[in-house]
Amino acid sequence: MPSPLLEMRNVTKRFPGVVAMDDVSIDFRSGEVHAVIGENGAGKSTMMNIVAGSLQPNEGMIRVDGSETAFPTPLASQAAGIRVVFQELSLCWNLSIGENVMLPALARRAPLLPMASRRAGHAAKPVLDRLGLSSMDPETPVERLTVAQQQLVEIARAISQNARVLVLDEPNSALSPAESARLFDVVRELRAEGVCIIYVSHHLDEVLELADRISVMRDGRLVTTFDKTEETTTADLVTHMVGREMETSDQYALREMADHAGETVLSVSGLCVPGELEDAHLEVATGEIVGIAGLPDSGTAVLADAIFGTVQRRGEVSMNGIRLAPGRPAHSIAAGMAYIPADRRGAGALLSMSVAENTVASALGRFLRRGFLRRRPIRDTSEEYVAKLDAKVASLGQTIATLSGGNQQKIILARGLVTGPKLLILHEPTRGIDVGAKAEIYAILKSLAEDGMAILMISSEMPELILHTGRVVVLAEGQVSGQLTGADITEEAIMSLATVSHRRAA
């Protein structure tokens, strides 16, 4: 058997106070799709950063084609034919699609040699076509693209350079099903050409669809690597990842919840955001979890901000019959709304502040006496909610930036709950959160709904909508194209509503 294309032998990587990779030996072969899965903090991204040359292992070695090597810099890794597409995009916003795709080639040119945007676009065309971006003008600046399109441009840049190893880290978190399918086709083509694809993902069904071999990491160790077979199920993967069996049976109980819905809390009518939403209608009642589904450009992205009032809108948004003015988040909170945005690090967490401060930020008025902070109640309240939501924090004074995604999300949730809301709006509540923490968040939402909270959950994750909502409202082209309840909530039904075209029908 030939030596593997890329292998790690006994690699250990320590950070102050934590062993991120513990004696990991793994090999990646030419012509395979090798999925790497694990909860957040399991060590996947450390491994990818070592492969990319951004981090150096403390112990162990890396071999390429059987000979020992090292990647002291990202350039060394790239010179070995390794291309890494990280989840966080690294495009140059001011440059065109073509220039971004051709950037590595452009970067090697002499500094003063001019390179026309049109020529870059021309050179980038074949790879753009391959990813299904043929309809895009390569001279469009990338800042005008949707997040999904930007992600594809990033991937186009990686595959334009004849990579031998292509690392995709959560490549399709923003992609529509059609775009994902196209990406998967390209991945399969590359595999047939002998490229090794390392695929890091939380989406276990995709992993099963795509992978030849699967490696599972937990707590910095490689738990197992095995060949995927017809018999492999997502439940097997989850068991390896969390090291225990997951409860799934009672998740279906939510489906009955739609019947228990009480009086209307939120009512939205004629909601418009130029270019995003036109005339959307929606109601949410006490005790129900309503999901919002839709393709990436259907208006789901701005719906939460439009309802909460953090973007300009037209139309009517009422809480318990009282009409809310846009642009006044403080009024929305006072009326009983709590909002958990999708961009956890950018718009959710007060990143530089402590756990305690984050917990009370939305209800600050209650923790002031004549303008002065009341430390004891702040600490007590924060302690209470940290315990209630079972957030794992070292201390209440710890900055929220140092928590894992799941625990950050719990603290942001706590911040909303401290205000005593009647309606909870969650946008992508579990994006980038590991399986264990996801299940805990679903359980929290369920118990809140049972206590009478109205919950609106906007999500691009089908299983989340199918398993954890009682009713799903589907958007297409900025309007509501239909809704599903109970057992009718299936992936097929959601997709058929999501692809309705109002314009064609009109």
């Binding site: 502040m353 401060e357 430390r375």
Partner: protein, 348 residues
């Protein structure tokens, strides 16, 4: 690995409500961001105490205290502005306009309190304009206050016609008003402590309480750390920033008034020229971040002390004024570099 990760847990010790159950007092002190600046200050003082005969004398120390007071008063205001994620370049001009304006009113025969009130109000108004331009006007505060730097300086020149303003009886100041005005700048509390230093101490104390212990301070940290997340939390980010600018403008005016009370003469073409950079340097040396969300009043006071002790020490050592400028520049760069490097190490 992303940008936010550089905010290590040790960076926020002075925040309200932060507590560590398990940390010992010693490690809590060591984790304070100000510790590096404090150590630097102690080393500098120890060196000067050994190297010169007159550094460690009451007279000299009180002298240093007086010299740093005006810078310090403005630095407290700048701490609020930087923490809320903005910057104010117009403070040197405000210092001149409000100080000279107050002097002109006194020369015109106004009472002390009305003249002071008018002077402080002019500073607050300039701060309000800065704040509104930088928030609702959607201008970067660097640009808005750069424009205001020039506009306010020009207004001071127009107001004084470029002539020096001298506050004395011959020019028309009422004797009792003049006496109390001069006491503010030149007097001593209990015949030892310069009044300027007393004012600085009061401003720093109030600033510390407001920043560390009130809802306004909390909101300033929230807005400066992440304006979007603060908005989602229901915090009026624009309001917080505008207030920070108003506080800054008022304190710049106050420092300008004290300066005229000390000297008793000033000229719009010279007074407070380039002062904004000294103020920003002192605050940044004290650990505040130009990108917002980080900083303490204690750090700022230490930063001001470092600049003050350094200037005093270099004079006592007989270093030429030209070399002094070079040294001060080096200290600014070294202090901030040490802070950045140690923060990065903490984040791992």
């Amino acid at each position: 690995m992303s940008g936010g990760a550089s905010l290590g847990a040790g960076a926020e010790p002075a925040r309200p409500a932060s507590h560590r159950k398990s940390a010992s007092i010693l490690s809590r002190i060591a984790a304070r961001k100000e510790i590096g600046v404090l150590l630097a200050l102690i080393v500098m003082c120890a060196f000067l105490a050994l190297a010169t005969d007159n550094f460690l004398t009451t007279l000299n120390l009180l002298n240093v205290g007086r010299q740093i007071s005006l810078l310090g008063i403005m630095a407290v205001g700048m701490t609020f502005v930087l923490i809320s994620g903005e910057i104010d370049l117009s403070v040197g001009s405000t210092y001149a306009l409000s100080g000279l304006g107050t002097g002109m009113l006194i020369v015109m025969g106004w009472g002390l309190l009305p003249a002071l009130a008018a002077g402080l109000a002019s500073g607050a108004a300039i701060g309000l304009v800065n704040g509104v331009l930088s928030t609702y006007g959607r201008l970067p505060s660097l640009i808005a206050t750069l424009g205001m730097l020039s506009i306010v300086r020009g207004a001071a020149l127009l107001m004084t016609d470029g002539q020096p303003v001298t506050v004395n009886e011959r020019n028309g100041a009422l004797p009792d008003v003049l006496e109390r005005f001069e006491f503010m700048g030149q007097g001593y509390l209990f015949d030892v402590i310069p009044m300027q230093l007393v004012f600085f101490a009061l401003v720093a104390l109030v600033g510390w309480i407001v920043l560390a212990g009130t809802g306004f301070g909390f909101r300033a940290f929230a807005v400066g750390g992440s304006a979007k997340a603060a908005r989602v939390s229901g915090i009026n980010a624009e309001g917080v920033k505008i207030w920070a600018f108003v506080i800054m403008g008022t304190l710049a005016a106050f420092a300008g008034i004290l300066s005229l009370a000390f000297l008793p003469s000033g000229q719009a073409g010279r007074t407070g020229m380039g002062l904004e950079l000294d103020v920003i340097a002192a605050v940044v040396v004290g650990g505040a971040s130009l990108s917002g969300g980080v900083g303490t009043i204690l750090g700022t006071v230490l930063g001001v002390l470092i600049i003050g002790v350094l200037r005093n020490g270099l004079v006592l050592l007989g270093v030429s004024p030209f070399t002094q400028e070079v040294m001060i520049g080096l200290v600014i760069i070294i202090a901030v570099a040490i802070d950045k490097w140690s923060t990065r190490n903490r984040a791992g």
